[in-house]
């Protein structure tokens, strides 16, 4: 039984989700992660784009684990005379869900998204939205924020039974799984835990990291949608039914041998899993598997409801399943005929 039964440290997950880290400004999150994992790795470095790479030296396969640290948010593009701000989205932000959400800047300033008078609901476009930070003039606003500054959506962390809800579960929960695995991992493989940047704006950090590391094999950790809520878009993934093994998304179709490897490992260790067929979106492995001459890649996903909202909701059992599965994969031989 490879899994250390010590309970996972969910206060760490809470801290990670509440840390400020929109795409492009991930250093607070990576610093927090670096402090957490330092005792458990042989070496650590940060690359040009800001990816944090924690290395476990070994003599076996060279394996890259990727979880992205960035979260979606908004960036200030204009401040008007009366002190209202206009903004642009960072990453996959659904405009029609924005009215009256709160955002937080790095310096703690809070803003509320307001909406102009609309003739018809369909008129709700980005240019009808503004940010109200309580300033009464351009000058006053400028003392608090500046053009080009980013903010993230506010959404505190709550735990009710086995369910946890917060902003930025996407993908701090993936980072959390990577950290908890790193703490428990005993393996001969050379494992690179890469906490990637700028996933939400086009898997950019993973692309350069994979090129630099040139691993034999890569596994990304990210969230995926579910189809288990009332009248949801049909999707077979359900919360609390185990970690999901990705088969397909818009960025990658998983090699059948990778699928089989992950599923067999899960079955051998009695870890429940689900198959993930995601009809939209992609993740870090989309960039990694096309790096150089091609890198066999897989994804372990954590089923998550309400992705890209301040109330991303996950289940404790699925997180523990993901930790167990990744440990089992990394502690096994990882012998694949496609490597």
């Amino acid at each position: 039984m490879p899994y250390d039964q010590n309970p996972l440290d969910y206060s760490l997950l809470e801290r990670l989700t509440q840390t400020f880290g929109p795409s492009g400004i991930e250093d607070i999150v990576t610093t927090a992660i670096a402090d957490e994992v330092r005792p458990y790795c042989d070496e650590m470095k940060t690359d040009t784009l800001g990816n944090l790479i924690a290395i476990r030296r070994g003599t076996g396969k060279k394996i890259m684990i990727a979880a992205h640290v960035d979260e979606i948010g908004v960036m200030i593009t204009h401040i008007d005379e009366k002190g209202y701000l206009r903004f642009a989205p960072i990453g996959g932000v659904s405009i029609r869900e924005l009215p009256h959400r709160r955002v937080l800047f790095q310096n703690g300033i809070m803003g509320t998204i307001g909406v102009e008078k609309l003739e018809k609901p369909i008129d709700l476009k980005l240019d009808k939205l503004y940010l109200d930070i309580g300033a009464t003039s351009r000058e006053e606003a400028k003392t608090r924020v500046s053009i080009g500054e980013s903010a993230v959506f506010a959404g505190n962390f709550t735990k009710q039974g086995k369910r946890m809800t917060s902003k930025a579960m996407d993908d701090r929960v993936g980072c959390f799984v990577a950290i908890e695995v790193l703490k428990r991992l005993k393996t001969d493989h050379e494992v690179y835990f890469v906490f990637t940047v700028q996933e939400e704006v086009g898997v950019r950090g993973a692309q350069t990291a994979a090129f630099a590391l040139e691993p034999d094999l890569a596994i990304a950790l990210d969230v995926t949608g579910t189809g288990d809520t009332p009248k949801a878009h049909p999707m077979d993934v359900k919360l609390a039914h185990g970690a999901a093994i990705k088969v397909f998304d818009r960025s990658m179709i998983t090699h059948p041998k990778i699928k089989a490897w992950m599923a067999h490992t899960a079955e051998q260790h009695n870890i429940s899993y689900q198959w993930e067929v995601l009809e939209y979106g992609g993740t870090d492995s989309g960039a990694i598997h096309l790096s150089k001459g091609g890198i066999p890649s897989g994804v372990i996903s954590i089923p998550t409801r309400y992705i890209h909202s301040p109330s991303e909701t996950v289940d404790q059992g699925d997180i523990e399943g993901a930790v167990q599965l990744l440990l089992a994969l990394l502690e096994g031989p990882a012998e694949l005929s496609i490597l």
């Binding site: 088969v247 397909f248 179709i253 998983t254 090699h255 059948p256 699928k259 598997h289 001459g293 091609g294």
Partner: protein, 353 residues
């Protein structure tokens, strides 16, 4: 025209077409392609994404010419299994939902399972048949109860559209996945021709994977090869009554040689020169931007690759009745062979701007 060559090409095309190889799941085609290329090449090998390379050495071998034709096809994937015994699915690649009703499929579960994509009887539709049926409203009928389905089929299983090739008048053939297995047949003909003609440069015919999902196989295989010149072979739309004004290339009038920013002007010129010199019929295929083919990936590989595109005219692309003229396939293969054999020894000097 050499009829033996054309009929063996047709036989290879049929075997490729009636086999399954949806993007990412091309492995079932590998033995077939390898066996066919093995006698024509010095080495045949594969890589992590499943691309198959057939390497034929040239007399000098200082430069590498990459040919690329993709073997993957569009298809479907199991998304869910309903208690009522119907299977929900999503698409892999650009599938037109309007081509799916009443279509037979093979679900690649623990064993292959035949299915029919069910359609709601017209008398239950309120819209008088004006609207296309959406994929979410379709289900695959496999004639099995739920429990039996669960024993053989899982979410994530790949599904191929099923179609036997049919022969029509004037050496036309119709079937599925001629996009781009016809291109694979072209590469075979090209290598056959190169057995007879001397060529200075190495030729690596790459049967690529995952083109339909964004030429992913071409991205990695061209990185691996880092060729000095690359030619993608794909299909292009041929004129039909409903594409007038949108399409200029015609069936049966020879390979379509592409011109545009995706292609090196000298590669284009040389292809045309070879066609004229060897009396191969050809058509000009203007592509003002993104070509949507492996050529788009090959051109921007590493420090850049001078790239060309030669296309086989084809009607009804991405349906299961893609229609092609066998003579166009043979002509395309021959044109490529003449082009390769005609390239100067000093390739680098030739292709610099």
């Amino acid at each position: 025209m050499n009829n033996a060559q054309q009929s063996s090409a047709k036989d290879f095309l049929k075997r490729l077409s009636e086999n399954s190889g949806v993007s990412g799941y091309e492995e079932s085609l590998t033995p077939l392609v390898q066996a066919e290329f093995h006698p024509l090449a010095d080495a045949v090998y594969t890589d992590a994404l499943g691309n198959i390379y057939a390497h034929k050495k040239g007399t000098i071998g200082r430069y590498k010419i990459m040919l690329a034709a993709h073997m993957d096809e569009i298809g479907l994937m199991v998304k869910g299994i309903e208690q009522s015994g119907f299977i929900r699915f999503t698409t892999v690649g650009g599938v037109d939902q309007r081509t799916l009703l009443s279509q037979e499929v093979i679900i690649h579960g623990r064993k292959p399972v035949l299915g029919v994509i069910g359609s709601i009887p017209p008398h239950l539709l309120s819209d008088n048949g004006e609207k296309a049926v959406k994929i979410d409203e379709m289900g695959i009928d496999v004639g099995l109860p739920y429990d039996k389905i669960r024993e053989v089929i899982q979410v994530g299983d790949i599904i191929t559209l099923r179609r036997q090739c049919i022969e029509m008048l004037n050496q036309l053939v119709a079937g599925k996945s001629f996009d781009d297995r016809a291109g694979v047949v072209v590469m075979k003909i090209c290598l056959e021709e190169l057995q007879k003609i001397q060529h200075a440069h190495d030729v690596i015919a790459v049967t690529t994977t995952q083109e339909e999902l964004g030429y992913r196989g071409a991205i990695t295989s061209s990185y691996t090869l880092n060729p000095d010149l690359g030619i993608a072979i794909d299909v292009t739309h041929a004129l039909t009554p409903d594409t007038k004004g949108q399409v200029d290339v015609e069936l049966g009038k020879g390979p379509a040689v592409a011109i545009g920013p995706n292609f090196h002007p000298l590669v284009y010129e040389e292809l045309l020169k070879s066609a004229r010199e060897w009396r191969v019929p050809y058509q000009i295929h203007p592509v003002p931007g993104r070509s949507g083919t492996d050529a788009w990936a090959i051109q921007v590989t590493q420090a850049g690759v001078p790239t060309g595109l030669v296309s086989i005219p084809l009607r009804y692309m991405h349906t299961t009745v893609e229609t092609i003229d066998m003579r166009d396939i043979v002509h395309t293969g021959k044109l490529l062979a003449y082009f390769i054999a005609g390239l100067p020894e000093d390739l680098e000097g030739k292709i610099c701007y």
